[in-house]
Amino acid sequence: MLIKRPADIAPSEITPRSLFDGRRDFIRAAGLGAGAALLGGVLPVPAHAQTAARGAKLGPLARSAFSTDEKLNDYQDITGYCNFYEFGTDKGDPARNAHRMTTRPWTVSLEGMVQKPKTLAIEDVLRLAPLEERIYRLRCVEAWSMVVPWVGIPMSALLKQVEPLTGAKYVEFVTYHNPKEMPGTLLPVLDWPYVEGLRLDEAMHPLTLLAVGLYGEVLPNQNGAPMRLIVPWKYGFKSAKSIVKIRFTDKEPLSAWTRANGREYGFYSNVNPEVDHPRWSQARERRLGEFTKRKTLMFNGYGDQVASLYTGMDLKKYF
């Protein structure tokens, strides 16, 4: 059987942590990995096989009514299987390379069509609202999904700081770009820096989160430290990582993926099982850790909260 079914008791609960973390080294040492070493260049050892130091504990955390009670994906999967192209396009590259990113000191500047432009340090951002844990579904445009226990504050708490002008209709999120720390940006895979955008009402929506943590701990670099956007009803790539600038504007921002291929990645990119990606179906998804695929839900299951944002819009046209 190649596929590992989740056990009732996590192996980590029966085995001492140190041994559990070292089990792959043990297997490798035992000789099973000889072939792997031989083929190392051809078949990369998954990144989560590498041990990484975990972030400091955050707390106390308020619980959120928006959380789902679905089974969480484990820490290793969430931190070892990432799309963060600045560190490479393989899912394991971010876990391998993101440790090079400097996340302190860190500031985020809020500018554009606002009353009071501001630059805030990450420490100040963390004080804007009580930290809460929000367990969200994450649906990737590549048709896989996870359940992730994020820690953060509502994005609106940050955006309110600068008093947007009435003409401001959109928000553009610009992310960190430093080729010295980000080997993936040496290839012109996307136009760097990675840029994303939301309508202002989407950005101010109570579900929209500014995440700073994961599993009750400081957000690992490969997941977008020190602060990232989480928009759970949109495909994962909309949730920009490692944000350095937020610009308020009256024009629809051109996001990195739309610029790269506007036919495949639209501005809205709401999770929608009825609108296929031109090259693959979006009707079903593979929840990591599950054997069979499950049906994808409209707005990733957040329709009750967000469907009203799009009343009267043709979602096939505004995909």
Binding site: I3, R24, I27, L187
Partner: protein
Amino acid sequence: MAAAQGHAWRRFNPGRTQFAWLWRAVWLACLLPLLWLIAAGLSDTLGANPIEYITRATGDWTLRMLMITLTVTPLRQLTGWHWLVRLRRTLGLYAFFYACLHLTTYVWLDQFFDIGEIVKDIVKRPFITVGFGAFVLLLPLAATSTNGMIRRLGGRAWQRLHRLIYAIGTLGVVHYWWLVKKDITEPVIYASVLAVLLGARVWHARRMHRSVQAMTLPDGVS
């Protein structure tokens, strides 16, 4: 081959027992990727999305085996090791073997035998259309790989049929190229290797053509 003289290694020609061992080694080496995949699966080191990993690995190895199979002829011409051709059937059948595993992964672990969805995919998604096309073209080659079939078809017809591998290799690379989201580095590498392997054939054919012409032309005309 005049060039072959003077280089001892060029005259290397394994005897019956030697070749049997060589063949076993090649056969085992081609099986290693599968053994590795099984070992990694059993020890849970295929990462967060094992099915995606298996799909990619079997697809990668199909392309690699196709490229290795296509290397036999140019390598033979380059080294003068004509006995290499006796390894080609095993290599080609392994390409077919990994293609079968790749297709099975898709049909079983991705679509769960939902024939309607599979047919829709083949018709609607160009990368699946070409991938499936490549597999269909592999079938007659695998079916005619036995000595009996070579005899029945006759060497010339058999050879003509097996030139389908050029199309199969090309479709395989296109399949990969069309499925990647944005980073085309790896498809470009496969395409370059394929271009070199097919280019070597064109180059060799031209050279042979010229030397035949030179031999048949009367003296004084060059």
